[in-house]
Symmetry: C2
Subunit: 250 residues, 2 copies
Amino acid sequence: MPANNDSAPAPRAPRTPRERARAQTTADIVRLGREHLAVHGAAALSLRAVARDLGVVSSAVYRYVQNRDELLTLLLIDAYGELGDEVEAAVARVPEADFAGRFRALGRAVRGWAVREPARYALLFGSPVPGYRAPAERTAGPGTRVIRSLTAIVDAAWRAGALRAEPEPLAGPSAAAVSAQLAVDLAAIREELGLALPDGLLARGALVWTSLFGAISFEVFGQYGEGTFAAKDALFEHHLQVLAGVAGLE
Amino acid sequence: MPANNDSAPAPRAPRTPRERARAQTTADIVRLGREHLAVHGAAALSLRAVARDLGVVSSAVYRYVQNRDELLTLLLIDAYGELGDEVEAAVARVPEADFAGRFRALGRAVRGWAVREPARYALLFGSPVPGYRAPAERTAGPGTRVIRSLTAIVDAAWRAGALRAEPEPLAGPSAAAVSAQLAVDLAAIREELGLALPDGLLARGALVWTSLFGAISFEVFGQYGEGTFAAKDALFEHHLQVLAGVAGLE
DNA sequence: AACAATTGAGAGCAGTGCTCTTGACTTTGG
DNA sequence: CCAAAGTCAAGAGCACTGCTCTCAATTGTT
């Protein structure tokens, strides 16, 4: 698990043996929960089943985890962390100046993890689990690592003057529909992420971002149909290529 | 509910009063199920709750619906039907020759329905309900109406020679990754949908297709964050504009 | 060693999907 | 017209879920 961004009474390195044992049990619960999640899916995640696997009665688990939702939150953070680690590592493996290459590496990393961990991917990017609301204060940090990586790549390309062409400004044929609110919202995002990208490229970045996850979700969630489509790798590579162009990279 | 594409012992117009009563009760169950689905989500859909609303004991519902999965399937078909109706109507409202306009109308129709019916959208395009497998023989027909509409638009534009430019062939910079299998798969799709589009445009169509749903899913599933982003309409219009360009329309 | 905090077990409540039996009702055939 | 056949709702019951509460035992600390 990666560094969890403070906030909340962050439990630090356990000193007493009690704290050590407690941390160990909690980690075991998360580990078993992760396994159940991977096998049976989020909505079927059962605290009682985890307790059985832990060799303990169900009520005992509630000593370590407030309720089912809290376990889901722990698993959410856990998954965000693993995905973030893999994506950042994959991006770092490509030379800093190869912006399109870095983008493709990011896309492949996300897809690779998603295909390997469909249930956990569904927890992060699929339809929300009914009745569960992720606490923003705990998931916002780890949950934005991938989008930060993506925008960092595009922004670096922009600053380096390596963007293929200036895309059409936001006010184009559908100028009437483009509200001033959008410029305000984009400015807020630019501020928050410390970017230099102009509006048009920022909006295109959002499209590339959602498109990437749309393509992956279609594959992971089986919308392509069962086995009818075999060349998913090749199609995804094609999509990465086109999306890089949409972002202005290349 | 729209025409359900035969297959299965399609129950025709009920003659006897028994059949009439039975059909009425089944329709009531679907209606109540739809309401529960819209309010509480798919995974929380409870046959017992539907029975309560129907003013009947839980076991009685099993006379009309085999099990929870069957009700889910009925709701799936119901939702596909409604979405398909709305999309086709929206597309038909735009002149046949305005290909880009038809595409945008399709996108807006899908998004409008999705925002209005998030739980049902999630049932169709979100993460799969654990333990539930949609029976392909019953959902394949109604489930492909939107993609058929989309490909029909692009294909018509192609046949009319109205595609802005010939996009790069599939074998580009990432030629090595583009397998022969992809050409085979694309040919199968072209055959099945009766299209004339060349490989490159077909692949781009798939990207546009998944991108559209990626953008909508991000909005519907709340990945944008709560209220932090207000100009979703304008951003979506921008995305439609860019995606039309990706498809080769304009 | 004594104390207090922590922990696990167990019972219990309310909910779920689903099955089976039972009794009543409706439709149909002779 | 009446009985057989078909249909239906109700209820009990099983196994599962999340979660709470009490009680006893363990365990670390003083």
